[in-house]
Amino acid sequence: MSRDERSAPWIADLYDRHGAALYRYAVMLLADPAGAADAVQQVFVAMLSRAAPPASADAYLRRAVRNACYSMLRGQRRRPLVDVAEPFLELVPGQSGAPDERLALEQAIARLSPEQREVVHLHVFEGLTFQEVADLTRESMNTVASRYRYALDKLRAQLGARI
């Protein structure tokens, strides 16, 4: 009997279905892969107190990861901003890019606010509409749309002709 079968079976199942997406979301919010792993782990550890998975697991877990990330970011505000230590972007399979393009994009995205990184991730990387992003972040659609526009303006300004 494997450990998965002996453990709360729904935890492993929940991770298999949502873990990767939650981790990618946390990575973009934090711009920090190690911190993202901590946030996701923290959310799943909190789930252990439950007898069964939540009814709307996807929405519940997204909210939980979001809360965990913003909580971590509030704690980091007292510390000086550091350079990106680990890469947090990768090419989508089948796509190609210039060798230093990823690094430049990564550095520019890291300089966005967490809220701007969040809307870029949800809208560009996950393909959510502004309304869906607004529902998830509990902001108005206008706020989300303008946040996205400012984020892209900032990225363009930083990257200039590099991309």
Binding site: R3, I11, A37, Q41, L48, P87, E90, V120
Partner: protein
């Protein structure tokens, strides 16, 4: 969607490290694994305890029955001897002193002790 957004769409956030799933699953409390032999041992111990409980009950009943019989026989002997000695409290008291008591038996059901002077039956 402009060209810059198309460039962005070629990328995505990195996926989780391989060990993250293992770390999360390892944190879940595992139910203790019991072998078949352990289940048989537990079942055998339970059965043995039940048998011992039943046997102890039967033996206890037999002891109680025997003690009750001996007590009743002694009470009859005390009354009979007391009557032979002339009856009365002093005769029954003397008879109670003379007739041997059963080993670890309960007190006599017939009260033959004097009411005055002793404060109760003396054993």
């Amino acid at each position: 969607m402009d060209d810059f957004e198309k460039v962005l769409q070629r990328y995505r956030a990195v996926g989780p490290p391989d060990d993250l799933r293992g770390r999360i699953v390892a944190l879940t409390p595992a139910r203790p694994e019991r072998s078949l032999a352990a289940w048989f041992a537990s079942a055998a111990a339970g059965t043995a305890a039940a048998i011992l409980y039943l046997l102890a009950g039967r033996i206890g009943d037999q002891i109680a029955q025997r003690a009750g019989d001996a007590d009743r026989a002694r009470a009859a002997a005390v009354i009979e001897l007391g009557d032979l000695l002339g009856g009365g409290e002093a005769a029954h008291f003397a008879a109670d002193r003379v007739v041997p008591r059963p080993l670890q038996g309960p007190p006599l059901s017939v009260d033959v002790a004097p009411d005055e002077g002793g404060g109760g039956r003396r054993d």
